[in-house]
Amino acid sequence: MTCDTARQLLPLLLYGELAFDDEESLEQHLAICASCRTACEQESRFHANLDRFEASVPPGLLAQNRRMLMKSVALETEMKAHPPIWKRVANWLTDPPLALKPVGAMAMLALGFGIARWQPSAELLPATVGASVANPSIARVRYVSNEPSGRVKVAFDEVRPREVEGAIDDESIRKILLAAAKDPMDPGIRVESIDLLKAHTDDEDVRKALLNALQGDKNSGVRLKALEGLKPYAKDVETRRVLRQVLMVDDNPAVRARAIDLLVENREPETAGVLQELLRKSHEDEYIRARCQRALSDMKASMGTF
């Protein structure tokens, strides 16, 4: 074994990760080569020195995480046991009970036959409307008129399901996601849209959408996602204004806790005032009180207002 090879293998020797044959050869080489032995001792000191730079886990962080995790698990268990109605309906539709599956299949077949039987023939349809839109969902009828030929002409806006695919940087995709982030019907869609958008907060529209969701969305899951996305903007004046407002009015402790985390990153006097006010108001929530007290103590601010 050459000295070059031996020195390259030294770190793996110290980690005990050399193959048996390599370790044998290296040890034989070290036995006869004084300079490689010195290099090995140096490598060993270097190795030991690196141990000192391991970051310790702050006291209490593990216990705090265990508590938060078990709370989330309890919440998920509760949600699983008593899902909201929209979720129950969606589950029932996507995965109906086994006994109903043959019935569903028969119903689909019957529906197919029925539609094929009742679908008007192409010559009955106006020339401008294709067979694929024979059964449209009508959003708005613009006008109706009686034609001299005795036929009726109707102009309407039609809603049709569509599927598009593209990169999130694509403007049209982003516009759709921004609209979906405000969809009042489905919190699940809002959570997923915000989740996709939150990595693109350099876009002003996205940031506004996250701020709006944080302030106004009824669903705490959506608000938490928006908070995640706003993390890089914890120093931004508008974001901080919204965070302070959220801290005072949001009814969800997890949202308030995350808002405290973001706010205390910047030690500004307004934050201390808001935390003191929150401390005064939140008598029941021990966890939030503890977070406020810790943040105020870190900021070297008093616990009460005078």
Binding site: Q8, P11, L12, Y15, E17, Q42, E43, R45, F46, N49, L50, D51, R52, F53, E54, A55, S56, V57, P58, P59, L61, L62, Q64, N65, R66, M68, L69, M70, S72, V73, A74, E76, T77, A199, P232, D261, N266, R267, E268
Partner: protein, 205 residues
């Protein structure tokens, strides 16, 4: 906790059997068994995340997300691999995502500007061993920035393999399993990481 899980935990003679019983109990919805399962591993998960991300908030994010994913997907665990490997696949993926995001956002600056002047983020990390020896504290302060800067220059995968081997003491085979790669690839990663660190911090020897 179910009777089977309690008996398994109480016996304590065969760790693998205990764990299998805990997993089965947790799969059947026993939250006590799930909590015990978490507590068997969460300290090392949090330590790894803390070491890699050097931020209690980010480390907590990884902790919460990892164990919630375990909770949601435990029913799909079929004992094809060890629970440790399965858990670390989740944890390492999350850590890699965070590391990549951190690299992009360049959030890893050692000092941050605050209203009270520049704040050394690393100085806020507790170092119990150094604190016991004033001389070591001074030395640590001087070289810690350098060590962290060098660690930041490693690729996320090199960084992860180095942290798992050096600070977590995991074998390269287990690291390879967790990262979905071979032991040899993990070894090459560790080799590159130590070479880079040695080149930049050789004077620490």
């Amino acid at each position: 906790m179910t009777r089977a899980a309690s008996l398994a935990v109480g016996a304590g003679s065969d760790h693998t059997m205990d764990e299998a019983a805990l997993i089965r109990a947790a799969q059947q919805g026993d939250s006590g068994a799930f909590e015990k399962l978490v507590q068997n591993y969460d300290q090392s998960v949090l330590r790894l995340a803390m070491n890699l991300l050097r931020s209690p908030e980010d480390a907590s994010d990884v902790y919460q997300e990892a164990f919630l994913r375990v909770y949601r997907n435990l029913h799909t665990f079929r004992f094809d691999c060890s629970f440790h490997t399965w858990l670390y696949r989740i944890v390492t993926n999350l850590c890699l995502d965070h590391l990549r995001k951190q690299k992009v956002r360049k959030q890893e600056s050692v000092t941050v500007e605050t209203e009270e002047g520049p704040l050394d983020r690393l100085a806020n990390l507790p170092d119990d061993r150094a604190a016991m020896d004033p001389q070591r504290t001074v030395l640590s302060q001087e070289v810690r920035d350098r060590v962290v800067r060098v660690l930041d220059k490693l690729t996320p995968r090199e960084r992860l393999v180095f942290e798992m081997r050096h600070y977590q003491g995991m074998r390269l085979r287990a690291i390879g399993d967790a990262l979905g790669t071979s032991e040899e690839a993990a070894k090459n990663c560790l080799f590159r990481a130590t070479q880079k660190m040695r080149a930049a911090l050789g004077d620490l020897a």
